[in-house]
C-alpha cells in the first residue's frame, strides 16, 4: 500500500514499523500473537492501574483539606479500580487478543457513550472523569512503550502522530532508520531532527498511524515523499537498489570536498552547521564546516531531569568550545514554546502558542533560572570562540534587559574571580517582521544577527506551517520574505554587523544563490546537508548570484522566483537532487 506525504528529509529506509504513542483515547489496535502475550499485556495493564493509583493518591494527599478536590480524586480512584471495567478490559485482551492500550481505550469509550446518554446531568458531567482516568492509564502504558524505544533490538522506522522533542531527545543514531508522521511540514520539528540525524523522513501523511501496525515492513522514500506499507517483492527489490544508489551518491558527496566552501569564481564562503545534540560535533568536524552556526540548547532542558543545573550546561558548552577550537560556536539560548516545547513552564494551554509564552519571553520572566544558562555560556566563553544568540527578540526593551542580565552575570563572575571572555559576541535571531522593520534600532546593541527563515516566513505570511490545510501558503520565496532578507543584510552592513541565515532556506538549492546574492555573510545548515550545500555554493558565481537576487526583488510570486533560479541551477548542476515541489508549487 502506498501513501503520499511531504518529503521532509532525503534518503531511503526499509525496516519494521515502531508505533510511538497514538493519541489519547483512540489507540491503535494491535493483534497479539498468542496467549502468553495476552498475559503479558494483562500484567502491563495491572501495573499501569497500580501506578496511576499511586499517582492519584499522591495528588489527593497534596490536596490537604480541599474537600471538593479530594472528592473528585476519590471518585477517580473508584473508577480506576472498578471491577466491571477491569474485567471488561482483561476480557478484551484475552479473548479479542488486542493490546492493552486498545482494550482500555475501547472499553472506556463505551463507558463514556453510556454516561453520555444518561438523563441525569450530574452523571453526564462525569464523562470528563472517565476520560481523565483513561488518559492516565494509557500514559502509563505508552510510557513503557517509550522505554521499549530505548531498548530496541533492531533499528526501526518510527511512526507517530507527531514527534515531540521529549520523545526524540534520547534517540541514538542507528536506532531509528526513518521518521513517518501524520502531522508536520517541511520545517516542523520532526523534519529538523531527521535532517540533523541524517535519516529520511516523510511527514504530513494525515492518517498513516491508523494504517500502519507495529512490525509492518515499511519503505520510506524521503526523496519523493512516499511511504509503502508491506511492500511487494518487486517494490522491495526496486527500493533496495535505489537505497544503495542513494547511499553511494551521499558518500561520494561527502568525500568530494573536504575543503572550505568556495563559489565558482573562487570566493570563500562561510558555511556552518546547525546542531541539536552534542555528539553531532564529531560529524561537523569531519565535514570541515566553518564552525557551529546554531547550537539549539532546548535539548539540554530534557536531559536535565532535576531542573536547571549550571554544571550540566557548562560541561557541554565547554567541551563543544574546546572540540571546535578555533572555529566559532554560536549558542542560542533556550527557544522553548511555539511548536518546540510544551514544558512545565507554560502549563496553561495557550490559544496561540506561536504568539505566546516562548523563548526569551520565558527567560525574561524567570531571570534567575535563565541566568543559570547565561552563566554557563559565559564561563565556557573563556576559550574565545563562543558567541551567544538570543531568539525571538521583538522589542528593544527586551534586548536591553537581556544585556543587563548578561552584565549582572559578568559582574558576579568577576567578583568570584571566574574567568570569561570579556568580548564575547552577542547576537539576535531575526524571526519576525517586527525585528526586521526595527532592526536599525536594535543593531547598535548587538554584534551580529542570524535570520531564522522558517519563523520569519510563518510570521510574515501568517501561516501555521504545521497545519496541512494552509501549509501550501507557506513560501520562503514570497516577495515579502525575500525583501525582508534584503533589508536585513543592507541594515546590518550599514552598521558593520555580520548576518547569517540558519533557517531551512540556507540548504535549499534554489535559495542558496539568492542568499549569496543578497550578501548574506554566513549560511548554517544541518550537518548532513553540508556536502550538498557546498556543492550548491560551488556552482554559483558571485556576479550571477547578485543579478538573480536583484531581479528576484521585482518578481511577483515565489513560484516565478524559483523558476528563475531553477533555470540557472539546473544548467550548472543537473544531477542535483531537486525536490520538484520546490519549484513547481508553493511548497
Amino acid at each position: 500500500m502506498l501513501f503520499k506525504g511531504i518529503a521532509a528529509s532525503h534518503g531511503i529506509a526499509i525496516g519494521p514499523a515502531f508505533l510511538l504513542k497514538v493519541e489519547e483515547l483512540r489507540h491503535a489496535r494491535r493483534t497479539l500473537i498468542d496467549s502468553s502475550e495476552s498475559e503479558e499485556e494483562i500484567l502491563r495493564f495491572r501495573d499501569a492501574i497500580i501506578s496511576v493509583k499511586h499517582d492519584l493518591e499522591n495528588i489527593a494527599d497534596s490536596m490537604g483539606d480541599v474537600v471538593e478536590g479530594r472528592q473528585i480524586l476519590e471518585f477517580l480512584l473508584l473508577l480506576l479500580q472498578d471491577p466491571t471495567i477491569k474485567k471488561e478490559v482483561e476480557n478484551k485482551i484475552r479473548c479479542d487478543k488486542v493490546n492493552a492500550e486498545y482494550a482500555v481505550s475501547s472499553t472506556l469509550l463505551d463507558v463514556m457513550d453510556k454516561f453520555n446518554i444518561m438523563k441525569d446531568p450530574y452523571i453526564r458531567e462525569r464523562v470528563a472523569d472517565v476520560k481523565d482516568v483513561g488518559r492516565r492509564i494509557i500514559e502509563k502504558l505508552t510510557g513503557t512503550e517509550k522505554d521499549a524505544l530505548n531498548n530496541l533490538k533492531q533499528p526501526v522506522v518510527l511512526v507517530a502522530r507527531d514527534l515531540d522533542p521529549s520523545e526524540t531527545a534520547g534517540l541514538k543514531p542507528g536506532q531509528v532508520l526513518a521518521f513517518v508522521t501524520d502531522m508536520g511540514g517541511k520545517t516542523s520539528h520532526t523534519t529538523i531532527l531527521a535532517r540533523a540525524l541524517g535519516i529520511p523522513a516523510v511527514v504530513g501523511l494525515q492518517k498513516i498511524t491508523v494504517e500502519i501496525h507495529p512490525q509492518d515492513l515499511i519503505i520510506v522514500d524521503g526523496i519523493h515523499g512516499c511511504v509503502i506499507v508491506n511492500p511487494t517483492e518487486k517494490e522491495l527489490s526496486y527500493y533496495a537498489e535505489i537505497r544503495e544508489q542513494f547511499q553511494e551518491a551521499e558518500s561520494l558527496l561527502q568525500q568530494a570536498n573536504p575543503g572550505p566552501a568556495l563559489t565558482e569564481d573562487g570566493v570563500r564562503y562561510e558555511l556552518a552547521a546547525n546542531i541539536e545534540l552534542p555528539h553531532e560535533v564529531e560529524m561537523v568536524k569531519s565535514l570541515a564546516a566553518d564552525g557551529i552556526g546554531l547550537f539549539r540548547t532546548e535539548f539540554l532542558r530534557l536531559i536535565q531531569e532535576k531542573g536547571e543545573n549550571e554544571e550540566d550546561h557548562f560541561d557541554i558548552y565547554n567541551k563543544m568550545a574546546l572540540d571546535m577550537l578555533p572555529k566559532p560556536v554560536i549558542i542560542r539560548t533556550y527557544d522553548m514554546g511555539g511548536d518546540k516545547f510544551r514544558t512545565g513552564l507554560n502549563s496553561a494551554r495557550e490559544a496561540n502558542p506561536f504568539l505566546g509564552y516562548r523563548a526569551v519571553r520565558i527567560g525574561l520572566d524567570r531571570p534567575e533560572e535563565f541566568s543559570i544558562q547565561l552563566r554557563a555560556i559565559l564561563r565556557a566563553s573563556i576559550h574565545g570562540n563562543i558567541k551567544l544568540m538570543f531568539p525571538m527578540v521583538t522589542h528593544v526593551e527586551q534586548l536591553r534587559s537581556l544585556l543587563d542580565l548578561i552584565k549582572l552575570v559578568k559582574n558576579d563572575l568577576r567578583v568570584k574571580a571566574i574567568p570569561f571572555d570579556e568580548n564575547m559576541q552577542v547576537g539576535i535571531m531575526v524571526e519576525t517582521p517586527a525585528t526586521v522593520i526595527a532592526l536599525d534600532l536594535m543593531l547598535p546593541y548587538v554584534d551580529f544577527v542570524s535570520i531564522g527563515t522558517n519563523d520569519l516566513t510563518q510570521y510574515t505570511l501568517a501561516v501555521d506551517r504545521g497545519n496541512p490545510k494552509v501549509a501550501y501558503l507557506y513560501d520562503s520565496f514570497h516577495p515579502a520574505v525575500l525583501r525582508q532578507i534584503d533589508t536585513v543584510v543592507r541594515l546590518c552592513h550599514a552598521q558593520q554587523k555580520w548576518v547569517g541565515v540558519c533557517g531551512s532556506m540556507a540548504a535549499n538549492p534554489l535559495a542558496v544563490p539568492l542568499l549569496i546574492g543578497f550578501g548574506v555573510d554566513e549560511l548554517s545548515v544541518a550537518p548532513s546537508l553540508i556536502p550538498d550545500v557546498k556543492k550548491m555554493i560551488a556552482v554559483v558565481t558571485t556576479h550571477a548570484a547578485r543579478e538573480m537576487a536583484e531581479k528576484s526583488l521585482s518578481i511577483e510570486t515565489g513560484l516565478r522566483v524559483r523558476a528563475l533560479v531553477h533555470s540557472y541551477v539546473i544548467g550548472k548542476y543537473p544531477e542535483i537532487l531537486l525536490d520538484e515541489n520546490d519549484w513547481k508549487t508553493g511548497g
Partner: protein, 90 residues
C-alpha cells in the same frame, strides 16, 4: 443470599457522589453485593455500574449479597442509602 428493599430517599437520587458512597461501603466486604432497580441489576462495587443504574429519588431498589458477612453487607449498604447521603430528602 440476603436481600432487602429500600426506596431511594433523596431528591436527586443516586448520582455520582451517592454512587461513590455506596461503592465505598460495598468494597469493605469480601462477599458479592448487588444493587437492583426495576431496570437493571449491577455490581455494587462498580462505580460505573451503580451510576448507570441512574436510580432517581423515590425508586424502589433491592440490595442483595452472597458470601461472607452477607447480612452485615446488605445492612451497611441499605443504611448508607437510608441516610439520604446527607442530601435533601424528597
Amino acid at each position: 443470599m440476603i436481600e432487602k428493599k429500600i426506596t431511594v430517599p433523596n431528591k436527586l437520587g443516586i448520582h455520582a457522589r451517592p454512587a461513590a458512597l455506596i461503592v465505598r461501603a460495598a468494597v469493605e466486604f469480601d462477599c458479592d453485593v448487588w444493587v437492583e432497580s426495576p431496570a437493571d441489576k449491577v455490581n455494587a462495587k462498580s462505580i460505573m455500574g451503580v451510576m448507570t443504574l441512574a436510580a432517581s429519588g423515590g425508586t424502589l431498589i433491592t440490595v442483595s449479597a452472597q458470601g461472607d458477612q452477607e447480612e452485615t453487607a446488605v445492612e451497611t449498604v441499605v443504611e448508607v442509602i437510608r441516610s439520604g447521603f446527607g442530601e435533601e430528602m424528597i
